[in-house]
C-alpha cells in the first residue's frame, strides 16, 4: 500500500498536562502501528507561535501528506492549525483533530481509562484523515450593488445609507410612485413630546414632509428608482444574484450583490371592527390617526352627538381585541399603546375631548414612551385596566356607544357603593361618542408572491415574532437577502433607523471585497445526480440551483459556494448519494464509528 498517503501524528501534551493522565509514548507507539502513519511526535504547546513553527518544520521534514493533531477540542485552535498546515504546503482539509483534552483526559473519572480511550480516539482520527479529501477554494465575485425592493420609508432610507457606504443601490417599487405612508404607522413619540404637542398641525405631519425630501435626495444622489416594477425571477446567490425585473411588461436583467426587502406593511380593519358593523363612529386607530391629521373638522363633528355636549372618546386595546390572540403579542400591544397614547393626547389638546383608554396591557418600553404615558395621564386621559379574562363589552344603544368595563382595581369598591342595579359583573359604564379599536398590521399585498420568488421565508412576515433566532432581526435564510422596516415587524421611527443602519452595515461588510475566497464545502457528482430537485428544495439557504453544469451540457444540480453555509443537509437528503461534504464524507463518518 505504497500509494496510501503518509500521515503525521502530532500530540500536543498541553504543557505536559496530558502526561499526568497517560503514557504519551505508549499512545504514540500504538498510533505508529496504524496503516499509513509515517511519523509520530509530541510537543508541549502546539498552539503557541513556536509550536506552530515546530509543526510546520516537522511536516516538511517528515514529508507527511496528512496530519492528525491530538490535543484540545477543535473549537479551540482548529483554524490556527488548518492555517499552519496550509502554510506547510498541505490542503487545509487534510487534517483531523483528536479531541483528547476536552473529550478524553478531562472526561475519564478513572485515569486507567484514559489510555485506551485516547488510543481509540486517535485511531479513529487516523482512519478519518486517511479518507480526507482536499477542499477546493473558489473565488466568488461580489458585486457591490444592492437591489432594494419597496420604496417606502425604510427602502428609501436604506438606499441612501448604502449609497453613502459606496454600495450602488437600485430601488424598485411595484407602485407608480414611492409611498412613505406604507410604514409610518408608528409616529415617533418624540415628535409629539419634542414640540410639546402643539396644535400647529405639524406634530405628526413632519414625517410626511421628511419623506418627500428623502425621495428628492434620491434623485440628487442619482440613485436609480424604478417604479411600477416587480421582481420576476431571482437566480444565483450572494454577491451575484441575477434578478429579472419587470417594469410594466418590459423585462430587464440586473446583477446585484445583495437584496434588501423593504416591502412595508398595510393596515386592515381588525375582526372586531368588522364584528361591530360599519357604524361610522367606531373607527380603527389607523383611521383615527388620519382623521386627526387631515380631517379635524369632520372628526369634530363626529364627536358631537345630539344628546350630550362633552365629546367622549374611548379606546379599547388588547384583550378581546380585534385580532383575538394576536393582539396580546408584544409588538402589537406596543404599537397600539403608542398610537392610542399619541392620539389621546392630541384629542385632549386639540379637541378638548374626554378620553378613556381601556386596555388589558399597555407597553411603554422605549425612548420617550414613559413620558408619553405620563403626559397622557397629566392631560387627563383616564385609564382602565381590564383582566384578559373579562374583556370590555361594547353595545350600541339608541345611537350611543356603551362600553362596559370590569376594571380589576376599581371593580370591588364600585360594587360596594353601587345601587344594586344588575351590571352583569361590569360595574363601569363608559358612554362614548367615538370608539377607537385596534386594527391589524399585515404584510403589504404581494408579499407572498415576493417571498416565493425570492425563496426566502421572511421570518415572521405573516405572524410577526416567529422564526429562527439566528435570523433575528434582519437576516433571511438566504445569505445576502435582508429584511428591513415594517415588513418584518412593527417598529417605531427610532427602531426603524437602527434597523436600517444595521442592515446597511451588514450589506457593506458582505460586499466590501470584490472577490471572496470561499471553500467548496459541498461537491455534487453530476454523473450520479438524478436531478430529483430534493437538494434544491431542502437546502435551507437556497445555495443549490439547477441548470447547465457546464455550458452546453446536460442539466444538473450545482452548488453556489459563496451561498453555502456547510450544513450538509443536502448531502443528508440526496437519494442518489451524489452530494458529498468534503470534510464529512460518509466514509469518514463511518470510520469514526469503529468502536
Amino acid at each position: 500500500m505504497d500509494s496510501s498517503p503518509k500521515i503525521g501524528v502530532f500530540l500536543c501534551t498541553c504543557g505536559h498536562m496530558m502526561n499526568d493522565y497517560f503514557d504519551t509514548r505508549a499512545l504514540l507507539a500504538s498510533a505508529a502501528k496504524e496503516p499509513g502513519v509515517s511519523s509520530v511526535d509530541e510537543c508541549g504547546f502546539l498552539c503557541t507561535k513556536s509550536g506552530l513553527e515546530w509543526l510546520k518544520i516537522k511536516i516538511a521534514r517528515s514529508g507527511c501528506e496528512r496530519v492528525v493533531i491530538a490535543g484540545c477540542s477543535p473549537h479551540q485552535h482548529e483554524l490556527k492549525f488548518r492555517q499552519a498546515i496550509e502554510e506547510a504546503g498541505l490542503n487545509r482539509s487534510l487534517m483531523t483533530i483528536a479531541n483528547l483534552r476536552e473529550g478524553c483526559v478531562w472526561v475519564c473519572r478513572d485515569k486507567k481509562e484514559c489510555l485506551p480511550k485516547a488510543e481509540r480516539m486517535l485511531k479513529a482520527a487516523i482512519h478519518r484523515v486517511a479518507l480526507a479529501k482536499p477542499v477546493d477554494m473558489v473565488q466568488a465575485r461580489m458585486s457591490s450593488s444592492a437591489l432594494i425592493i419597496g420604496a417606502g420609508e425604510s427602502g428609501v432610507r436604506i438606499a441612501l445609507e448604502l449609497h453613502r457606504l459606496g454600495i450602488q443601490p437600485l430601488l424598485i417599487d411595484s407602485q407608480p410612485r414611492p409611498e412613505g405612508e406604507r410604514e409610518a404607522f408608528l409616529p415617533t413619540p418624540c415628535t409629539i413630546l419634542g414640540n410639546g404637542g402643539s396644535s400647529s398641525g405639524q406634530d405628526t405631519g413632519g414625517q410626511r414632509h421628511d419623506f418627500s425630501a428623502l425621495v428628492k435626495e434620491l434623485s440628487h444622489k442619482k440613485i436609480e428608482l424604478l417604479t411600477s416594477t416587480e421582481v420576476r425571477e431571482v437566480a444565483g446567490g450572494v454577491g451575484a444574484f441575477r434578478v429579472v425585473l419587470d417594469t410594466q411588461g418590459r423585462e430587464r436583467l440586473v446583477e446585484v450583490g445583495s437584496i434588501v426587502v423593504a416591502s412595508g406593511s398595510r393596515l386592515e380593519d381588525g375582526a372586531n371592527l368588522a364584528k361591530l358593523g360599519s357604524y361610522s363612529r367606531i373607527v380603527s386607530l389607523g383611521r383615527l390617526q388620519k382623521m386627526i391629521e387631515a380631517e379635524p373638522e369632520r372628526l369634530e363633528r363626529m364627536m358631537i352627538t345630539a344628546e350630550r355636549r362633552a365629546k367622549h372618546v374611548c379606546f379599547i386595546l388588547g384583550g378581546d381585541g380585534p385580532q383575538g390572540e394576536k393582539s396580546l403579542v408584544a409588538p402589537f400591544v406596543k404599537r397600539a399603546s403608542i398610537m392610542a397614547l399619541n392620539q389621546a393626547i392630541l384629542l385632549r389638546r386639540r379637541f378638548k375631548a374626554e378620553v378613556a383608554i381601556v386596555a388589558s396591557d399597555i407597553i411603554v418600553c422605549g425612548t420617550g414612551l414613559e413620558d408619553l404615558y405620563r403626559l397622557a395621564r397629566q392631560s387627563g386621559v383616564l385609564f382602565f385596566r381590564t383582566p384578559e379574562s373579562r374583556p370590555p363589552q361594547v353595545s350600541l344603544e339608541k345611537g350611543v356607544i356603551k362600553v362596559r368595563v370590569y376594571d380589576s382595581a376599581l371593580a370591588d369598591c364600585i360594587r360596594e357603593s353601587a345601587s344594586g342595579e344588575d351590571d352583569g359583573g361590569y360595574p363601569i359604564l363608559i358612554q362614548a361618542d367615538l370608539l377607537a379599536l385596534e386594527d391589524e398590521v399585515l404584510p403589504s399585498l404581494g408579499t407572498e408572491t415576493l417571498q416565493s420568488i425570492l425563496r426566502v421565508d421572511l421570518a415572521g412576515i405573516s405572524s410577526f415574532y416567529q422564526g429562527n433566532i439566528h435570523l433575528k432581526p434582519n437576516l433571511s435564510n438566504r445569505r445576502g437577502v435582508f429584511v428591513v422596516g415594517s415588513c418584518h415587524g412593527v417598529e417605531d421611527g427610532g427602531e426603524m433607523l437602527n434597523d436600517i443602519r444595521s442592515v446597511a452595515m451588514a450589506v457593506f461588510s458582505l460586499l466590501s471585497r470584490p472577490n471572496l475566497a470561499v471553500e467548496q464545502k459541498v461537491v455534487i457528482n453530476t454523473d450520479k445526480c438524478a436531478l430529483c430537485l430534493t437538494c434544491i428544495r431542502t437546502c435551507p439557504h437556497r445555495a443549490i440551483e439547477f441548470g447547465e453544469v457546464k455550458a452546453g451540457q446536460k442539466w444538473g444540480a450545482r452548488v453556489i459556494p459563496q451561498a453555502c453555509q456547510g450544513c450538509g443537509i443536502c448531502a443528508g437528503e440526496c437519494p442518489a448519494k451524489a452530494i458529498e461534504m468534503v470534510q464529512y464524507s460518509d466514509d469518514q463518518i463511518f470510520s469514526e464509528l469503529t468502536l
Binding site: S73, H75, W106, C108, E113, D457, N468, M581, D586
Partner: protein
C-alpha cells in the same frame, strides 16, 4: 453482570459538541464509553449512519440537535427529528429495541444537561443489555 455499553453520540458542532467540551473542561466526568462523533449539523445525520453505528457494534446511539427554532441552518434539527423517528421505527422492526436510539435537543450552554443526559442514557442502555446484534447465536 457488569457490562459497559458502547455508545455513539452524534453531536452537532454548534451545540452539543460545545456543550460536551464544556462538560469536559469542568472535569465533572462522564462515562468514557461514550464516543462523540462531530457533525456540522444534526441535519447531516443520515439513517445509514445510525444503522452503521449499530452494525459496528454500538449498544446505543444518542443524537443531539439544537433546540427548535435555533438551528443555525434553520431546519436541520427538524429534519433530524423526523429522521430519528423513522429510524426508531425501522430499528424496532429489524429487532433492535428503539430505546437504544435516543434523540435530544440541547443548546451550547446546557453542559449540565449534557452530563445528565449521557449519564442517564448510559444507565438506560446498560439496563437494556448488549445490543441484540452483538449476542452470538
Amino acid at each position: 453482570m457488569d457490562f459497559t455499553p458502547a455508545i455513539v453520540a452524534f453531536c452537532c458542532e454548534n451545540s452539543a459538541y460545545r456543550a460536551a467540551d464544556t462538560a469536559g473542561a469542568r472535569q465533572e466526568g462522564y462515562p468514557s464509553n461514550i464516543s462523540i462523533c462531530r457533525l456540522p449539523c444534526s441535519g447531516k445525520l443520515e439513517v445509514i449512519h445510525i444503522l452503521k453505528a449499530f452494525e459496528e457494534g454500538a449498544d446505543g446511539v444518542f443524537v443531539f440537535a439544537c433546540h427548535p427554532d435555533s438551528c443555525r441552518f434553520l431546519l436541520g434539527n427538524v429534519r433530524a427529528g423526523k429522521r430519528i423517528e423513522h429510524t426508531a421505527a425501522l430499528l424496532e422492526k429489524i429487532g433492535i429495541e428503539k430505546e437504544r436510539l435516543r434523540f435530544f435537543y440541547l443548546s451550547e450552554l446546557e453542559w449540565t444537561q449534557f452530563l445528565d443526559l449521557v449519564r442517564q442514557g448510559n444507565e438506560s442502555i446498560k439496563s437494556l443489555g448488549p445490543s441484540p446484534i452483538k449476542v452470538k447465536p
